[in-house]
Amino acid sequence: MSQQQEEQKAIPLDKLTPQQLLQIKKQIEEEVQQLSQSLSQFRIANAKYDESKVILKRLDQTPKDNDLLVPITASLYVPGRLISPQSVMIDYGTGYFVERNTEQGQHFCDRKLQLLKESQDKLSNIINQKKQFMDKLNIELQKRVLQVQQIQQQQQQQKK
């Protein structure tokens, strides 16, 4: 990525051969695709934390000893009773779990959402930059095609 950007600065587009232009275009297309994939993964993570936050809020408002059904398998549920509506276990990552109350849990989700938002914004910016460069490349490529067509036309006219 950084290498390419250096190339962009070092070599003006009109000095490159069409083959080189196509190669760069292909490379950038792949990069954009990869980055877009990451972005959609970010969106999934975002949705998960959003959902967790909503559920934590609801759990906080649920009275103690509330009856509930606990999923044992995907289709088997066992009746249960809510003993501690205020306490949840949060997966902090790398194998660490921490007991938190629902309010702290919501703060945790907020922090993660904030972090995700920042990363998402950064990533979107990068993708947009790449797309802009792609536009430039496409314009340059079109120019080349026109040039070749003009030369061919001239040659045909000369033959006549």
């Binding site: 902090y92 660490y96 921490v98």
Partner: protein, 131 residues
């Protein structure tokens, strides 16, 4: 002359094979480096979150499929140790990548030299035929 050509050709082939192995190794190193970067990010995130906790917070560590209670202090030390380890591993891989790059450059130049030699021999032979 034929012997010389054959010798050079087989040498070039051997060296190309070495170069290919080097390239394969490089790929492994780069993948390893990527993994280490991811791990270090993840641990960094956990460390930040652990730093926000109050000292009496109940922390559990997942060992196999069992959650084992651990003090916050212990967990923090553990994560720091892991980050240290990842940092060291990262340096190791970086060094390996540098070494590998240098080796690849050396191999490429030596192959190029031999190819030039081969080319010169063939040209000299053709000139002698033309005479």
């Amino acid at each position: 002359m034929a012997e010389q050509v054959q010798m050079l050709q087989s040498k070039i082939e051997d060296e190309s094979k070495v170069l290919q192995t080097l390239q394969r190794e490089m790929q492994k190193y780069v993948e390893g480096r990527q993994k280490l970067i991811e791990q270090s990010h993840e641990n960094e995130m956990v460390k930040k979150e652990l730093d926000l906790l109050e000292p009496e917070a109940k922390v559990y560590k997942l060992i196999a499929s069992v959650l084992v209670s651990q003090t916050l202090q212990e967990s923090k030390e553990n994560v720091s140790k892991r980050l240290d380890f990842i940092g060291k591993e990262f340096k190791k891989v970086e060094d390996l990548i540098k070494e590998n790059t240098n080796k690849q450059i050396a191999k490429k130049t030596s192959i190029q030299k031999m190819q030039e030699q081969l080319y010169q021999i063939v040209q000299a032979y053709q000139q002698s035929l033309n005479k």
